[in-house]
Amino acid sequence: MLVITRRSGERVVLGDDITITVLEISGSTVRLGIDAPTEVPVYRHEIWLAVKAENQAAASSEVTSLPSPLTK
């Protein structure tokens, strides 16, 4: 892993077209601004992990017959 120290207002560039700006540092919280092409999805890591886990669990369930109408 590459480790870089940055101060508020400074940036990191990934490749040609992704820029991450440290907007604000407050206590243990850092606010980041991310400029990336629209085709690059950006997620908070823990949410991305949780959604990925749910998708994979949903797709690998052995249940193949879903309940018939249960709601009106």
């Binding site: 949780a50 959604v51 749910e54 998708n55 994979q56 949903a58 797709a59 109408p69 249960l70 709601t71």
Partner: protein, 160 residues
Amino acid sequence: MQIQSTRFGAIEIADDAVIEFADGIIGLPGTRYALVAQHEGSSFYWLHSVDDPSVALPVTQPWLFFPTYDVAVSDEDSHKLGLETSEEADVFCVVRAAQELEDFTVNLRGPIVVHAARRLGRQVINEAGDYDVRQPLFTHVQLNQAAPASSTTPIAATGV
């Protein structure tokens, strides 16, 4: 086109029923999916991969179960889908199915938003609130009322 689903065998899918997920579905392969109904009138669909016959995930329309559910789609996601009004969007939530109804959960945090007319889909992170990725789908009330032959009254879904 026809797909040879590993779950359901041959399924005929109309070309205009295919939904393009340009960024895929998080953690799953392929970019083309179609909604397949297993039972007439069911509350559930399968979002079935067109590219990989072994990939399908159950989804439901969240408002059937959670009438007060809110979805907020970021400007970026709306732009990618070409959504201009909320009426253009269909919303589905991924269901984790289980042997027992009380173990069914639904992901309200990462709904799948589809521009119905353009056939574009995208799994988004719901910005409307702190919804759970693993919300129990059926309440105890629903489970009791869903017992066979006793479901003559409409089942009251509860809010989140």
